[in-house]
Symmetry: C2
Subunit: 334 residues, 2 copies
DNA sequence: AAGCTTTGCAAAATAGAGAAAATATATTAA
DNA sequence: TTAATATATTTTCTCTATTTTGCAAAGCTT
């Protein structure tokens, strides 16, 4: 390992002078000395030691990305292409900002805070936290923090990036109603946050179209994959009574679709399906999935922009990005 | 930020004693002092500073995961569900080993080495590097390194984890031949490494079944997405002459499938398709994709195990994991 | 009681880099 | 010539934690 000191010894100056050449802030270095030092840096292959930098500068150039570990499914969250894509773009934009991404899959707020302290994180992006967790985190965490898909009460006190989940749900509610569906179920693995917004919008959309709707039509199937869900008799019977199912994510819908067909449901003839996200494969299955499209790249860019704005002392604000209903084949007219 | 020194001052001992309590190696501490220090650590919420640890211990507890940035497509590599899943599992197993994962998306060996030096990486996992790049990396990089899907000459001098790509290609060759296909193309975006192995196996499989086969049947379409590929007239005409296409990955096959159908190809009636990977959505599209399944979770586990074995001074060896042909609907009998 | 070991703890050195303060040298002005 | 002022570079301190060395006190043996 080549240190600044090694360069300094080689050239015959002090470490500070080398440091000044490396990021010539306050002080000047003679062109001659600078030239010699720069040559030595190149030749000896000096690379700054991040540990020392973290210690000396009291910042890390690391952005933590929190993925909540529900501990329910065995699969990592990244297996869902939505999260794969999201994290991929986050890394890309974080890298553009000359920072590094540390993926922190954790299961409670204390652990998030521990890690953030330990690594002296310059910023934190919280991806799929439950409302109570994210609320708790915002209350305890003093440093730059941006959340994705969080829905809390007092919008002034946090920065959140989300698509128009309510609007997406609303559009889907209107759409299913317009297609003549009266017996409809929304299926989530979560009754809070994003899924709740989508449900509220959905309910409103159905209601406005004079479709009778109650909270019983929001089915929560926590920790059960789309595949396994159909194996439960009570769910199967419930699905028999519906003409359409609205899944809170495409990943879920895609998993369920195949299982439903194998169990004997004819889709969309007997049962229409809709999803949310528009994954790359949603348009490839049969029937092609009707869904609400969100722009993941844009979401990631907004998130990183908002975080760096915050880190540079900018203003707090939250963002809502538009969604679009993509009508394909999985919803038929009744 | 609470330091060791703060704990020491609180209890009235030296920092050394607190350090000894935290990981009581060589030296002893009286039970009484130990108790007091432990209480203070808990109460004051001490969290070790990773920067200082990196500096003092000259190791980082970070595993770097290299994703090569081809710079060709605009999408991040993680958008491919294969990589999403792989990285997700890698993170999971790295975390199990009490380490952290740093995703390094880089575009050349010098940069990889720079980052590894800068972060003092305990270990490196190289994911999708070209043979010349990975060869270069193995030659220059002195610390624990495990590659995924690399195929080099002298197997003794590196550790590589891969599935039986040759065997998978071979099985597919035999299978397509057995299904009566004579005009077959393999499509990759890469003529080296994994894709080359799959091609070699494929060629052998076809050859053994007496299907005439030449290297012209390995079509390289670098930097072109499956969707865009079909837009090129010369490719379209080429495809018209085939009865089956074997794509080097499901992601590619899935992208192409939808585009092919929209261009007027009837699949599988006019043109059979096959892939490699068995993504979660490969069984959901229509027709369901016939493919070679690999176990990504196992691959990730093997990779992390091999790396930590190496870090602890274990032996070098490489691993080849089995694959399985999944016969579904996208290949018809001619 | 002298000499030894064990116990319990602390001081100092180390890791790599940044930042403030100090110092040396050269230039200009009085 | 001396003082003031730039310019160039070094010294010293700081960041947090580990590790090596040192040292006093207590306990044991002969």
């Amino acid at each position: 390992m080549i240190r600044i000191k090694d360069i300094a010894d080689q050239v015959g100056v002090s470490a500070t002078t080398v440091s000044n050449v490396l990021h010539g802030k306050q002080q000047r270095v003679s062109p001659e000395t600078r030239r010699k030092i720069e040559a030595a840096i190149r030749e000896m292959g000096y690379v700054p030691n991040m540990g020392a930098l973290m210690l000396a500068k009291e910042q890390s150039s690391i952005i933590g990305v929190i993925l909540f570990d529900k501990g329910s499914r065995n699969e990592p969250t990244l297996t869902d292409p939505y999260y794969g894509s999201l994290v991929g773009y986050l890394e890309q934009y974080i890298r553009d900002k000359k920072h590094y991404m540390l993926m922190l899959t954790v299961s409670n707020v204390e652990e998030i805070i521990r890690q953030a302290k330990a690594w002296n994180l310059d910023g934190l992006i919280a991806c799929n936290l439950q409302p109570d967790v994210i609320r708790h985190l915002y209350a305890l965490y003093p440093n730059p923090l941006v959340s994705l898909d969080a829905y809390l009460e007092n919008k002034e006190s946090y920065i959140n990036i989300a698509v128009d989940d309510f609007g997406g749900g609303y559009q889907m509610g209107r759409y299913l109603a317009a297609m003549g569906h009266r017996n409809v179920l929304m299926i989530s693995d979560n009754d809070q946050g994003v899924d709740h917004q989508r449900w509220l919008g959905f309910k409103k959309g159905l209601g406005e179209a004079k479709v009778p709707v109650s909270d019983k039509q929001h089915l929560l199937v926590s920790n059960i994959s789309g595949e396994r869900m159909v194996q439960y008799k009570r769910y199967k019977e419930l699905f028999r009574k519906q003409t359409a199912l609205f899944f809170s994510s495409d990943y879920y819908a895609l998993e369920a679709c195949s299982a439903l067909r194998e169990t004997g449901f004819r889709i969309p003839e007997e049962l229409s399906l809709a999803g949310f996200d528009d994954l790359f494969c949603s348009g490839l299955m049969t029937p092609k999935l009707t869904t609400i499209r969100q722009d993941i790249e844009q979401k990631a860019r907004m998130t990183v922009d908002a975080l760096f704005c915050l880190m540079e002392g900018g203003e707090k604000r939250d963002w809502v990005l538009p969604v679009e209903l993509i009508e394909r084949e999985s919803v038929r007219r009744v």
